[in-house]
């Protein structure tokens, strides 16, 4: 193992610990906000925003997506597209939903 390689791993470990602290802090924030009894739309927005930030930290640093190959990004972009389409389906049912009921 070269010294450059060892230094790179040491740098990564420091990042992992920082991300861990951030995830813990964000978990506490998520729970604390839920006790504020905010109106549902605001509560949903805040909870999902915090969850997106936490999820991004896990994906980017623990799953190394921040420095991944293009093929992986392409696979995930396609997945994100289909995932968004899947989550968008309920929207069509609340906004009239004529094409589902017909």
């Amino acid at each position: 193992m070269t010294s450059d390689h060892a230094a790179d791993i040491d740098r990564r470990v420091k990042i992992y610990i920082t991300v861990f602290v951030a995830l813990m802090a964000l978990t506490i924030i998520t729970v604390a906000v839920s006790y504020l009894d905010l109106p549902l739309p605001i509560a949903v927005t805040v909870a999902l925003l915090v969850a997106i930030v936490k999820g991004s930290l896990v994906a980017c640093y623990f799953m190394h997506l921040i420095s991944e190959k293009k093929v992986i990004y392409a696979v995930l972009a396609l997945t994100a597209l289909f995932f968004a389409a899947l989550l968008a389906l309920p929207i069509f049912t609340v906004n009239d939903g004529y094409w589902i009921h017909e």
Binding site: F20, S34, A51, V75, L86
Partner: protein
């Protein structure tokens, strides 16, 4: 015949086959959980009334489980980092901690389920509980599956370290990707089911 591209990367993808394989599998998992999340949104928005999760579920217990699972993600990535440093003994400690934390998660979930079942709250009781049991049940199965794979690498699978350490490190990385995905799913499950 040896399995191709376990250590050396393919020229077309720039990746080992295992790496691309696990990401394709995770993509299918995103769609699986995505379908269930979409169902949850559909049922919740279509219901005349919907209970807040914290009126039925135990938030402190779920918060504890969130901390447990996030901690297990850190120990998992540290297990991989230990192998990258060539420290097999440290890998065993971190991987053992990951398996143990997964076990703690399942034990807490067992008590949570037992409590609800004792109160007569079954999946058939209402839509909220049906979604709760389906999503958390499927997630629990993933935790269990990840633990089985991690236990294999901690135990009998670890002998590969002696003959082909790079391949073993890659395998642990792929197993870690699955484990982090399980953590990621819980990060979204926790607020949507317990807090909203």
């Amino acid at each position: 015949m040896d399995i191709p591209y376990t250590v050396e990367v393919r020229r077309d993808t720039g990746l080992t086959n295992g790496k691309i394989g696990i990401w394709l599998f995770l993509a299918s998992e995103v769609m699986l959980f995505g379908a269930l999340f979409a169902s949850y949104i559909l049922i919740r928005t279509g219901a005349p009334s919907w209970p807040r999760g914290d009126t039925i579920l135990d938030v402190p217990l779920a918060t504890f489980n969130t901390i447990v699972l996030i901690s297990s993600s850190v120990t998992m990535v540290m297990a991989w980092a230990s192998l990258m440093r060539g420290r097999f003994g440290t890998f065993r400690i971190y991987m053992g901690a990951t398996i143990l934390l997964g076990f703690v998660f399942l034990v807490v979930k067992y008590f949570e389920y037992s409590h609800h079942l004792h109160l007569g709250e079954y999946p058939s009781t209402n839509n909220f509980l049906a979604i709760y049991y389906t999503l958390t049940g499927l997630h629990m199965l993933h935790v269990f599956g990840g633990m089985v794979v991690n236990a294999y690498f901690w135990g009998p699978g670890a002998k590969l370290w002696k003959t082909n350490p790079v391949w073993f490190t890659n395998r642990v990385e792929h197993s870690g990707l699955f484990w982090h995905f399980v953590d990621l799913v819980w990060i979204f499950l926790f607020p949507t089911l317990y807090l909203l």
